[in-house]
């Protein structure tokens, strides 16, 4: 009986020790071989305005950043970023400054959208297309736009069956606009690296 228990305990202890050892090994290896994401993609992504509007023909800002870095896409396809953004990208990547490609759209002043609430039928179609979840509402309930979250990507406008979404100039608030967030993030990162 005692021998049996001893054997059992030995098996348990050795298996636990083995798995523990392997666990520690994996932790060590994962620390030692830690991979940071492609730093250039992150930097390009930080310059892009994060409107997630898709006017560049990519599903969002990050995919466009990846396409730029891999040389797949030119830097002049981002209307919300405008000429300023193209200049920054060119500086970062040591490329020539290009004119904004008119096929992707024209540069406009900073704006957001608003739902004309009496007209809203509560179809939730705009909620589904919003890339930043800036529209709140439920089926057959009136929807509204959270202005602080709206990036002005206009993707909800064609989705609305009753055309009750209108563009308005971005309100000046004390909060940082989403379009400026990358810039703010860089500032914060710079401050942290001090």
């Amino acid at each position: 009986m005692i021998a049996w228990i001893n054997q059992w305990a030995l098996a348990l202890v050795s298996m636990v020790a083995l798995s523990g050892l392997f666990g520690l090994l994996i932790i060590w290896v994962s620390k030692k071989f830690k991979v940071e994401g492609n730093p250039i993609v992150e930097q390009v992504n930080a310059i892009l305005p994060q409107t997630q509007c898709g006017q560049c023909n990519y599903p969002g800002c990050k995919p466009y950043a990846e396409a730029i870095v891999s040389g797949e896409a030119p830097i002049n396809q981002c209307p919300p970023g405008g000429q300023e953004g193209i200049k920054k990208l060119a500086e970062l990547l040591d490329l020539e400054v290009l004119e904004l490609n008119p096929e992707n759209g024209a540069e406009e002043a900073d704006q957001v959208v608003e739902i004309v609430e009496p007209d809203c039928i509560g179809c939730t179609k705009c909620i589904q297309v919003c890339p930043v979840d800036a529209i709140v509402g439920a089926a057959k309930q009136m929807h509204t736009v959270i202005l602080d979250e709206c990036t002005g990507c206009d993707l909800c406008i064609p989705a609305c069956p009753v055309d009750c979404i209108i563009k308005i100039p971005a309100p000046i608030t004390t909060q940082v606009r989403r379009n400026d967030k990358p810039a703010l993030l860089t500032t914060i990162q710079e401050a942290q690296s001090w």
Binding site: Q7, L10, A11, S14, M15, L18, S19, F22, L25, I26, V29, S30, F33, K34, V35
Partner: protein, 192 residues
């Protein structure tokens, strides 16, 4: 040297893991629809099989046998294989991003490839030494890779072929695998 060569040939062709021993059929069916991914899977498997047969030999020889715990080998080999795959993936990700892009997707899949566990267990059963284990593992991987690549090439052609409706897809693939298995029977008896 001759013994090592024989072990290699035996594992790769005569006792091919997929077509003779019927191990690792899951990736054989799953990753063989495209030639390119089959190639990636083959290389990843070759790497992991060799590494894990060495690692499981060490665990068996220096932990399980001295403690008289051989009956726990299945359990501990699964652990060893999972850890080997995980570490391989992490090191590869850091040191060779290009290779990682080719193999990366397939590496986690290999953890559950029963050929890998089969190699580790057969190594113990045949009482192979460390070098022999490594060769056995590598041979098994080469056999697996050759068969997988051949099969994927056939399957790419099958996509174009005019197959009767009821046989389209997996059924015709399984039949093809059966025919290939018959062909590989031709190697039987050439080596133990």
């Amino acid at each position: 040297m001759t013994t090592l060569f024989l072990i290699f040939i035996s594992a790769a062709f005569v006792n091919n893991f997929v077509l003779v021993r019927f191990l690792g059929l899951c990736p054989f069916m799953g990753v063989s629809t495209q030639y390119k991914s089959a190639l990636g899977m083959s290389f990843a498997t070759a790497f992991v099989l060799t590494m894990s047969s060495i690692a499981s030999y060490l665990v068996n020889e220096y932990l399980l046998v001295p403690l008289g715990l051989e009956y726990l080998k299945t359990l501990s080999f699964i652990l060893v294989i999972a850890v080997t795959v995980q570490i391989t993936e992490m090191i590869l990700h850091k040191s060779s991003p290009l290779l990682y892009q080719v193999l990366g997707l397939f590496l986690p899949l290999i953890t559950t490839n029963c050929a890998v566990l089969g190699v580790a267990l057969l190594n113990v059963q045949q009482q192979n030494s460390l070098i022999e284990s490594a060769f056995f593992g590598f041979g098994a991987a080469v056999g697996f890779g050759v068969v997988l690549v051949l099969f994927s090439a056939i399957r790419e052609r099958l996509e174009m072929a005019d197959v009767p409706a009821s046989f389209r897809g997996l059924p015709i693939a399984l039949m093809t695998a059966g025919l290939m298995s018959l062909a590989f029977m031709g190697f039987s008896g050439m080596a133990q």
